[in-house]
Amino acid sequence: MRRLLFLPILLFCSGIFADQIPIPKLTHRVTDLTSTLNEEEVSNLENKLKDFEKRKGSQVVLVIIPTTGEETIEQYSIRLAEDWKIGRKTIADGVIFLVAKDDRKMRFEIGRGLEGAIPDVISKRIQLEYVRPLFKEGKYYEGIDQGIDKILGLIDGEPLPEPSSTSYESNAAPEEDQFGLYIAALVVIGIAVGFIFKKLFSLLQAGVATYAGYWVGGLLGFSLEVMLPLLVIFFILLCIIYIAAKNPGSGGGGWSGGSWSSYSSSDSGWSSSSSGDSFSGGGGDFSGGGSSSDW
């Protein structure tokens, strides 16, 4: 959240963001922006990559773009990799095969977890010995197919954890659930604190309870910006509860929780839907491994 606020500043500071070609949206395993491949070829490759992911768990994607613009293919490729997060989380077993057709450049971007299975030297060799000769003749589909086959073969030889039955679940719990849980935690803590420290005076008690709530919220990963209005409300509520508890007869304990649900933490919503046939990266990371060649 806080990081997001600074992002524009960061982008501004970096100074190398002259005119970048935007990163295409990830929807399929094969992204062809140049119409090099026909439908049949695309679906062939798609199915191959899909079956492989089902069997082995690793995500391999193909991207064909006209050009990487002013950036080198390596710079574009790592931006794409950081954006798409191909490969499983922590296993980091993703591979991106990037072809910049008009630049006549290609690159394998190898996920951190596969750098052992596919060393730079080997991926370079695949490019030089299998893909490049075919690309030179204009046989793009054949070259890509060969390259992907070789890569899949290498990953196959690597002992990796079994693929999970649901191949790309979003590992974030639904936002609403977390929010409800967090409200509940606040209330429970507040009340508990309230009754344990009956001897203290109310303001301090409410303050401590609020702080505890804030702390728990922090544990649940809520940022201060989201929580501030909630905490203020919570603080006031606690004071009211306390006063009500101090003056028996004035019906404490009867407040409605309905008004709270209107606060939804919309600004931490990064959930990715994983419905039907859509495809998304599993959170793998890259550190610039791989190789590039021209043809």
């Binding site: 730079d120 001897k199 203290l200």
Partner: protein
């Protein structure tokens, strides 16, 4: 004022004080600074790793080139010397708190980079060398390593920017001053341009 009252007041003061301290440490960025400080260190370790990886490649590379182009003494000596000077700068995380050492480290690495690119230019004159299997392998490794260095450096730059923004904004700046967290040095721009480019190989 009875003794009980006194104890109660004292107790509440104590608890209030503890609460204040806790609140201060959490809301005035102490933890954020800790987290980001660690991130910077991790990013720096990655940079060093990649530079080390490059340094490890050099002897093999020099030997392979020697086999075909022993007469290119100047360039070879330069590369060897650059590698020695890279090794002489201790790149522990402590150098992040020492801008002078940091600059020295970067200068050494910059020399290494330019020496390597000159070597790669010389190589162009020797077709036999260029088609040598082990040289092609080394070249691929070097390219990959240069790219990893560029990526690691960029990530370091980003993490330092985040950290620096944190320790220079209010109210974290107070916390940072109290606990002695200073802004960390970043790679300078001219250096950046020079280093982040992998050696160009012309065909």
């Amino acid at each position: 004022m009875s003794q009980g009252d006194f104890f109660r007041i004292r107790k509440s003061f104590l608890i209030g004080f503890a609460g204040l301290i806790l609140f201060f440490t959490n809301s005035c960025g102490y933890n954020t600074i800790q987290v980001q400080d660690e991130q910077v260190k991790a990013a720096w370790s990655e940079v060093i790793n990649m530079y080390q990886r490059r340094a490890d490649l050099i002897p093999n590379l020099v030997n392979t080139v020697k086999g075909y182009a022993a007469q290119e003494k100047e360039v070879l000596i330069e590369v060897t010397r650059a590698r020695a000077s890279v090794g002489s700068v201790q790149a522990t995380p402590e150098i992040l708190n020492n801008p002078e050492l940091f600059a020295k480290f970067n200068q050494a690495q910059g020399q290494m980079t330019s020496a390597l690119s000159r070597l790669m230019v010389v190589v162009e004159k020797y077709p036999d060398l260029k088609s040598d299997k082990s040289f092609i392998g080394l070249q691929a490794q070097l390219e990959g390593t240069e790219n990893r260095i560029a990526v690691a450096r960029n990530r370091y730059i980003t993490s330092v920017q985040e950290y620096n923004i944190t320790v220079r904004t209010f109210p974290n700046v107070i916390t940072a001053k109290i606990f002695g967290y200073d802004v960390k040095p970043n790679f300078s721009v001219e250096n950046e341009k020079e280093i982040s480019k992998p050696p160009q190989v012309q065909f």
